[in-house]
C-alpha cells in the first residue's frame, strides 16, 4: 500500500520524548499549520483543550474558526463536518468518549460512508473522526468501549488505531490528508506513555501493519492499547524461552494482513488480542482470512483473547474483563500445546 506522502512537511523540531497525547497534539498542530482548510471540531476542544487535553492550546493559536467548540450533539458534529467537507474543508472531529459516538452513528454510516460512492467520486469526504477508546481507566459507563468493529463493517469508512507516540503523530496527519473518511481510534489508557519522536524521520504508510517484535514461536497480533500488553507478554514469554512475534495491526479497515500471513507461515500459530467483544468483530475477520490463506501452515487453530460478549462491566471488574498479560500468555500456551 502506498503512503500518502505528506504535503509540505512542517519544520523539524528535533527529537524529543513525548506522550501519545502530546504527539497527537503536535500532529494536529502540524496539520492546522500546513493546510488552512483543516478544522478541529468537537465538544470542549477549545478553551478546555478537550477532556484529555489533546487539543490543548490550539484554539488560542488558530482561532475559534479553525478550532470549534461545537454544541453538545454528536450527530451535529459529524453531520456538519460532512457539509464542511463538501465545501472543501478537512474537519477533524473529536468524539469525547467511545460510548458517545452512537448519537453520531447515523451520520457516519448513512452519509459519511456513502457519499463518495453515491456521487461516483464527485464528492470527497476528507473527514477524520477521533475517538478515545477502550477501558482500563476506571471510568463510569460508556467511557470504556471498543466499538471499532462496527465501523470496520461499514463499506466506505476507513478505520485505524495508533499504539505509540510516533504512530500517533504521523498517522493522525496522514489520516487528515487522506481523502476518505477515517475513524481514528486512540488508546486512551496509553495517552501518557512516552517514547522518542523524531518529526523528520519518514513515516510508514497509514494503512499498513507492522511487526514490532520479531519471534518464531507464536505470532501475536493486536492494535491500539493491546499492543503494549502483547509486548509485555512477549517480554515475559522470552524469559521462559518462548519468542513471540508481535504485530501491530495499525489499520483495521482496510486490514493489511500480508505481514500477518508471512508471520503465520513462519510460526504456524496465531493469537489475536483485542479488548472488544469477540463475536462478529475484527478478530473474527482476521481469523477467517488467516485460515483461508495459511491453512497448510497452521499448527494450531487461530486463537483469540478478547473482551467478553457482554456490555462493558462496572470499572471494578474491568481487570477481569480486559485481556491482560496473563490471559495472553495462557492462550499462547494453549496455542503451543497443539
Amino acid at each position: 500500500m502506498v503512503a500518502p506522502a505528506l504535503k509540505s512537511p512542517v519544520a523539524p523540531v528535533g527529537t524529543q520524548t513525548v506522550t501519545i497525547a502530546k504527539a497527537l497534539n503536535m500532529g494536529l498542530r502540524a496539520s492546522l499549520e500546513r493546510d488552512p482548510k483543516v478544522l478541529v471540531m468537537g465538544e470542549d476542544v477549545g478553551k478546555l483543550g478537550g477532556v484529555f487535553r489533546i487539543t490543548d492550546g490550539l484554539q488560542k493559536d488558530f482561532g475559534e474558526h479553525r478550532v470549534l467548540d461545537t454544541p453538545l450533539a454528536e450527530s451535529g458534529i459529524i453531520g456538519t463536518a460532512i457539509g464542511l467537507a463538501i465545501r472543501g474543508f478537512r474537519p477533524v472531529c473529536e468524539i469525547q468518549f467511545d460510548g458517545f459516538i452512537f448519537p453520531g452513528f447515523d451520520q457516519l454510516v448513512s452519509q459519511l460512508a456513502k457519499l463518495h460512492f453515491r456521487s461516483q467520486g464527485k464528492l470527497k469526504m476528507p473527514v477524520v473522526v477521533r475517538v478515545p477508546f477502550g477501558g482500563g481507566i476506571g471510568a463510569v459507563e460508556h467511557h470504556s468501549e471498543s466499538p471499532e468493529s462496527l465501523f470496520a463493517h461499514v463499506g466506505g469508512l476507513k478505520v485505524v488505531s495508533c499504539s505509540n507516540p510516533v504512530d500517533a503523530y504521523w498517522m493522525l496527519q496522514q489520516a487528515i490528508e487522506c481523502d476518505d473518511p477515517v475513524l481514528f481510534f486512540e488508546p486512551k489508557r496509553r495517552y501518557y506513555e512516552k517514547s522518542e519522536l523524531d518529526p523528520t524521520a519518514p513515516p510508514i504508510p497509514l494503512f499498513s501493519s507492522r511487526v514490532v517484535r520479531v519471534g518464531s514461536a507464536v505470532t501475536v497480533a493486536a492494535y491500539g492499547p493491546m499492543v503494549r500488553t502483547c509486548l509485555d507478554a512477549a517480554t515475559a514469554a522470552a524469559e521462559d524461552g518462548q519468542e513471540l512475534e508481535v504485530i501491530d495491526l495499525r489499520t483495521l479497515s482496510p486490514l493489511d494482513l500480508d505481514p500477518v500471513f508471512d508471520s503465520v507461515r513462519r510460526t504456524g500459530r496465531l493469537v489475536l488480542v483485542s479488548e472488544a467483544p469477540a463475536e462478529a468483530s475484527i478478530t473474527s475477520e482476521i481469523a477467517s482470512r488467516v485460515q483461508q490463506e495459511c491453512f497448510y501452515s497452521l499448527e494450531a487453530p487461530v486463537l483469540r483473547v478478547t473482551g467478553f460478549d457482554t456490555p462493558y462491566p462496572p470499572s471494578k471488574l474491568e481487570d477481569s474483563y480486559l485481556p491482560d498479560l496473563d490471559r495472553v500468555l495462557d492462550v499462547v500456551d494453549r496455542s503451543l500445546a497443539y
Partner: protein, 405 residues
Amino acid sequence: MSPEQWTRPENEGTTGPPAATAAKPTREQVIAGLRATSEGGADLVQLLTPEGQRVEHPDFDIDIPDAELRDLYRDMVLVRRADREGNALQRQGQLGIWVPLLGQEAAQIGAGRAVRPQDMIFPSYREHGVAWCRGIDPTELLGVFRGTDHGSWDPNSTRFHLYTIVIGNQCLNATGYAMGQRFEGKVGDPDGEATMVFFGDGATSQGDVHEAMVWSAVYDAPLVFFCQNNQWAISEPVERQSRVPLYRRASGYGFPGIRVDGNDVLASLAVAKWALDECRQGNGPVLIEAFTYRMDAHTTSDDPTRYRLADEQEAWKLKDPIERLRVHLVREQIADQGFFDGIDAEADELAVRLRNFCFNMPEPPPTRIFSEVYAEETPQLVAQREDYLQYLAGFADEAIAGGVR
C-alpha cells in the same frame, strides 16, 4: 393557564415577523440575555429572593406550611452534605469520579418534592437531590461512581430510573413511558400519573431531546421536561447551545415553557407542582427551565479554572439556595438555632455513614460480568463464563481477595 401565556416573551409581537422598524438585538445583546443573572424579570418565576424575602407571584403563589419549609431546608442541607462527602471520597481515591450538585439543591429538591409516588422520574447523572426525594439513600448512589455497579436501586419500585450518562437519551425514554401512562388512561384526573425527566442545558442540543419534545407534543404525553440550566456544559457556556432562552423553545413544539429561579426552592416546587398537575389532567407536556448555576466543577475530573470567570461564581454565591431559605426561616421565626444545629448534626452523621459505607463496599465477583446480560441466558455466554472461571481457577494457589484475583 394557556400555553401562549408562558411562551410569549413580553417584548415580542404576537404574530408574524417583527416590524421592519424594530431594532434587531445584536449578537452580544442576545448572549447577554441568555446569561443574564438578574432576578425578577417577567420571565423568571421567583417566590423567595436571594435576600430571603418572600415575594408574591400572580400565578404560582403557593402556601407552604412551616413544617414543610423546614423539611425543604433539611433536604437541601443533607443533600449538599452527601454531595460534599462524595467529592471528598473521590479525592481520597475511594470513588473513580463524582458529579457534584453544589448550587443545584433548590432546583432538585423543589422538583423532587413536587413529584408524587405514582409519578415516574428519569434522571440524568447529577440528580442526587431528586434521588433523595425518591427515598433512595445516598449510599445507593456510590456504586455507580466507585465502579461496583451501574445503579443499585430498583427503578420499578422507586420509580426513579437509573442514571443516564449518554446526554439526552433519557428524554426519549421518558417520553415513551409517559405515552404509556396516557395509553393506559392514567391521565385526566387530579390523581393521575405524570413523568418528569431531568437534563442539562447542554443536552438541549442533542437530537434525542428535540425528538422527545416532538413526540411528547404530538402524543400529548404527560411529561415534564425539567432542564437544569446551570449555565455550563463542561466548558461550554449556554450560548454555545442556544440563541434563545431555553424555556422559549417549548413554543416551537406547541407546549408551555416556563423559566423558574432554580436557586429558589419554593418557586421550583410551585412551578413543578403546577406542571405535573397539567400533565395529570391531560394537558401535558411542559418544559421547565430552572435557571441555576453549577458551583463546583462539572465532575471531579474537570478543571473549571480553564474556562470560568471567578466573578461569575462570586455573583452566584450570593444567590445560594440554602442560605436564602435559612435567612427566611430565621427572619420569620420559623426555625430557631436548635433546629439548625440539629440539621447540622444530622448532616454530620450522614457524612460519616456514607464514608463508612463506601470504605466497606464489597467488590463484585467476576461472574457479575456474565450475569443478567440477557433475560434468557445464551449458551455462548454460559460457555464464556465457564471458560473464564476455569482460567481463574488456575490461579487458585495465588491470593484471592474479595473474589477478584
